[in-house]
């Protein structure tokens, strides 16, 4: 008959417990996001109402509802997205990516950032970033390489990359 493994032996075999314990006890708590999580975060971000994350959105563009543009996804899909909203989105994403207490996971924030710039470039012919064209192409390429990138953003980023 097989004896049950003593608990202290089981404990020793489990490194996940120690790894997570170390992070919480040293105040280095952070979620470890898998690709599945990142895909879920980006989907959720794209489905989030603009007004939720950009409180000034309606003040800048009172006609938002009339245009059926309520979420970030709607904004990136619009034929004529308001420039102010794209700029606001870009600034929000940039701030989120560099903020120590990040309101967004960094890579998700960067995808949002480049999507806002790509939308301005492809729909309005605007350059919302001071980065060089080569840098932007590399950035779009980086975003397209993310395995968790939302399918809805692929055509936009491909077009922007040229």
């Amino acid at each position: 008959m097989t004896q049950p493994t003593p608990s202290f032996v089981r404990d020793r075999e489990s490194s996940g417990f120690l790894r997570l314990s170390r992070s919480v006890l040293l105040n280095e708590i952070d979620f470890e996001w898998s690709d599945t999580d990142l895909a879920g975060l980006l989907r959720h971000q794209l489905a989030t109402p603009l007004e939720n994350d950009l409180p000034n959105a309606k003040g800048l563009c009172p006609e938002l509802d009339g245009q059926g543009m309520t979420t970030f996804s709607d904004l990136f899909a619009a034929e004529q997205p308001p420039r102010e909203l794209l700029e606001l989105t870009r600034l929000y994403a940039k701030s989120a990516a560099i903020n120590r207490d990040r309101p967004l996971q960094r890579d998700v924030a960067l995808v949002l950032y480049f999507a806002a710039i790509a939308t301005g470039q492809t729909r309005l012919g605007l350059k919302l970033s001071s980065k060089s064209d080569a840098d932007l192409q590399r950035a779009y390429g980086w975003a397209l390489d993310r395995p968790w990138l939302a399918e809805s953003l692929v055509p936009l980023l491909v077009q922007a990359r040229g």
């Binding site: 708590i29 999580d37 879920g40 959720h44 989030t48 989120a96 207490d101 967004l104």
Partner: protein
């Protein structure tokens, strides 16, 4: 023995625990947190709701409670001792006993745990001369365990050598302590206990503040995976719905709030369990280093 504690604690006159003046003054209500399965019942804890608007709840550290003149407070201190350290003591002893037998008999473990608590905690007061400034209570208990188990081994080895009448199977119960393994088992059990206590306090705090959602996301994504040693649930539509999240930014905001609360409660729990005041992070580092 598991889950049953204990018995007339010694009077502080018999104890020479060195406390700083501020600690001697801290004779507020003792809070004893019960852990499921320990059989320990909270004694004098008030619900948080009763404390709203008044002074913050004061919790004596274990060392302060054991130096208190009130028998009730010392009894509560012992219950707290059981809450904080009994699982670690048991894990240490189980590891020592299992080394020779391959598997430790639960009754034998309980018996040795009982002996240790009677001999070391009650008779030869564990807290006697203890100075939290010189090291944590956890380290002291570990030192006592090493000594006690080493002594048991040596005594029985000598007895065995004196007997020339062949093998006595009962003497095989004790093997020389496998120090690293037993120490890890003790520290690991203590670590788990700390995290469980912090989790319980966080949950209570956010439920009292009517912000259960802060607790929920922290518990689902981080604490439960630690305690269950399992993968966290994916951040998907079901998770978003369960936690009532409006956006990823809201999830992050809740996390930040929860992280700060965790750090605060963690320091409280460690200090109350015998880390020196202000030395909580040092205790964490020593604990993690000991675990490798």
């Amino acid at each position: 023995m598991t889950g049953t504690i204990i018995l007339n604690p010694p009077h502080p006159a018999a104890m020479r625990t060195r406390l700083r003046p501020a600690q001697r003054l801290g004779q507020g209500p003792v809070v004893v947190r019960a852990r499921p399965g320990t059989g320990v019942t909270p004694t004098s804890r008030k619900p948080m709701s009763q404390n709203r608007g008044s002074m913050p709840e004061t919790r004596l550290s274990l060392v302060e409670a054991m130096a208190n003149p009130s028998p009730e407070v010392r009894q509560a201190g012992l219950e707290r001792f059981a809450n904080d350290y009994q699982s670690g003591i048991r894990a240490y002893i189980a590891a020592c006993l299992a080394r020779s037998a391959g598997r430790a008999d639960p009754d034998k473990i309980d018996e040795v745990v009982q002996q240790f608590i009677l001999n070391r905690v009650l008779k030869n007061n564990l807290f006697d001369g203890f100075d939290p400034e010189k090291g944590s209570l956890r380290a002291r208990i570990l030192q006592m365990l090493k000594w006690e188990m080493g002594k048991s081994f040596r005594t029985r080895k000598v007895d065995r050598q004196r007997q020339s009448l062949g093998e006595d199977q009962s003497l095989d119960d004790f093997a020389e302590p496998a120090v690293d393994e037993a120490e890890r088992a003790f520290n690991r059990a203590f670590l788990r206990q700390v995290i469980e206590q912090v989790a319980a306090r966080m949950r209570e705090e956010f439920e009292t503040k009517n912000k259960p959602e802060v607790w929920l996301i922290f518990e689902r994504r981080l604490l439960r995976p630690i305690l269950d040693e399992a993968e966290p649930p994916a951040y998907d539509e079901a998770f978003v719905a369960e936690c009532g999240l409006k956006s990823p930014a809201e999830a992050a905001a809740r996390l930040v709030t929860a992280k700060r609360a965790f750090a605060r409660h963690k320091n409280d729990v460690l200090r109350e369990a015998g880390a020196s005041p202000g030395g909580e992070m040092q205790e964490v580092i020593e604990l993690l280093n000991a675990l490798g």
